[in-house]
């Protein structure tokens, strides 16, 4: 099988210039791969570098060394050395990312926040909004909220908008940072269902989940991040 994500010996250190140049090692020797239709869950205590690894896969954090291999439109691309334009192309058509918090643009209606990834990829506004609506329905966001910007929503509602935005596209890779953290049981179950559907569509996923029950439900494999702990 051809892996969708293939990470080899990736390393990340922060240098804090404003704190006298302190070196803050995050992870080193990060090596794992993810196949299509597989959900790999990263485990380890807070501060072990799980979110940093997701951000490295998304090209949001830079790597000091190593390789972040991503299968993009049939070819292998190394995000650790890719040009900004290439990273943007990979994000548009290959990697989706559900962050812990919604970073919403002021003034944009919820329905449009969710529909945007489809519109960017060429779908008509009406079709994209219809899909966004059905996903918001499934995630129990009442229709009366759809025309409002999500900035004033509760934490759980914002997270569900974020999930809808992340799950709406048919991208072959999905990164999930605590997608169920502030959700109630009913909505957690919806997210587990959505992840199951993505697996059946062959999407490769990397997830961070602290809830043991959810982890058992979604994980095909667990990668222990403590083994990548950078020597202090």
């Amino acid at each position: 099988m051809t892996a969708m994500i293939d990470i080899a010996d990736a390393k990340k250190t922060f240098t804090m210039h404003l704190q006298g140049g302190i070196e803050l090692p995050v992870v080193r020797g990060v090596t794992f791969h993810v196949n299509p239709g597989e959900c790999v869950v990263l485990s380890g205590p807070s501060g072990a570098g799980k979110s940093s690894i997701l951000k490295m896969i998304f090209g949001n954090y830079r790597c000091d060394s190593g390789r972040i291999g991503i299968r993009h439109r049939g070819a292998l691309i190394d995000l650790a050395i890719a040009e900004p334009r290439q990273v943007l192309n990979v994000r548009r058509s290959t990697i989706g990312y559900v962050s812990q918090f919604l970073r919403a643009v002021p003034r944009v209606a919820t329905i449009d926040v969710v529909a945007e990834p489809l519109i960017v990829n060429g779908m008509s506004r009406a079709d994209a909004q219809a899909r966004a609506g059905s996903l918001l329905h499934r995630l129990n966001i009442p229709e009366r909220l759809w025309q409002l910007p999500p900035a004033t929503f509760s934490g759980g509602e914002q997270q569900r908008v974020n999930i809808a935005r992340g799950f709406i596209s048919a991208l072959p890779i999905l990164l999930l940072d605590e997608p169920t953290a502030s959700l109630d049981a009913a909505n957690r179950a919806v997210v587990v269902e959505l992840i199951g559907e993505k697996k059946r569509q062959g999407v490769a996923m990397v997830a961070i989940v602290h809830d043991n029950e959810i982890r058992h439900l979604i994980a095909d494999r667990i990668v222990d991040v403590t083994s990548f702990a950078a020597a202090a």
């Binding site: 051809t2 210039h17 404003l18 951000k55 439109r73 691309i77 190394d78 334009r85 943007l88």
Partner: protein, 269 residues
């Protein structure tokens, strides 16, 4: 994975629109801009950030051909597909480029508008400059653009000096975009506006840039503006580009001491 690495250049092989090569500008012994090189592609938004005096405005003037460089050159891919060095263009050619394929949004709308003539004329003037002569069509197109930038068409015959700051800035944007340019330079377009007016303008700009597939070089000292609008940033200090990359990468994982200082100076919302 087994397969060999794809040639990363093959992924997207379209041509750059604007190319800066080793651009420098000095005033006597003071270097305002040193050795700046980059390529801008169609539809790409590049933010130039830095404090006052970092050389970002000088760079914008060099890029838009308003200032001659002391060293290096700027080239632009014209509508006929041929990339030309700006310094080889005649004055008429350069002016034509400015009226058709380029836009320039000033921080102060009064610099980019004619304050005493009507809003409709401000927009229509750009069209007449490229040969439109049918009054009805010019007026229709101008009304259309006022609507797109959220100005009430009932105000079409009023002069911009009767407009609020936010409306003036939106009118300046309409005036620039009416000829469907491929490249727009923006110098602190949200500077001097109230925060609520800024948010509206940013949202409008973001949508227009995406819809029209505009390439933009935007100078700003506001990192929030860079995050919202740009794909890439260049951080300038003392006339040099000290850090460059994908916008969220530079802002979330800044490497240089000066960039870390800029990012850490943002007040939490």
């Amino acid at each position: 994975m087994g397969a060999q690495m794809a040639d990363q250049d093959m992924i997207e092989n379209d041509q750059p629109l604007l190319i800066a090569e080793s651009l420098s500008k000095s005033y006597g012994r003071i270097a305002a801009c040193r050795d700046v090189s980059f390529a801008l592609y169609p539809g790409e938004v590049l933010a130039i950030v830095g404090e006052s005096g970092s050389g970002k405005s000088t760079l914008l003037q060099l890029l838009s051909g308003q200032l001659a460089p002391s060293g290096g050159c700027v080239s632009y891919r014209m509508r006929d597909g041929i990339t030309r060095d700006l310094s080889t263009l005649g004055e008429a050619e350069r002016r034509f480029l400015f009226r058709t394929d380029w836009g320039y949004v000033h921080q102060d709308p009064a610099q980019g508008l004619r304050m005493a003539v009507s809003a409709g004329a401000n927009v229509g003037e750009r069209l007449m400059a490229v040969g439109w002569n049918h009054y009805g069509r010019i007026r229709d197109t101008a009304s259309d653009w006022l609507t797109r930038v959220e100005i009430d068409v009932a105000r079409i015959d009023d002069a911009p000096r009767t407009y609020s700051g936010g409306m003036r800035q939106r009118l300046q944007i309409a005036r620039n975009l009416v000829t469907e340019p491929r490249l727009v330079f923006m110098d602190e377009p949200t500077g001097g506006l109230d925060v609520s007016v800024q948010a509206r303008l940013l949202d409008l700009l973001r949508n227009l840039v995406a819809e029209l597939h505009l390439a933009v070089v935007i100078v700003t000292h506001d990192l929030a503006v860079a995050r919202l609008l740009s794909h890439r940033v260049m951080v300038m200090k003392g006339g040099r580009v000290i850090e460059t990359g994908l916008t969220d990468q530079v802002l979330d994982d800044p490497r240089e001491p000066y960039t870390q200082l800029l990012v850490s100076s943002i007040l939490p919302p």
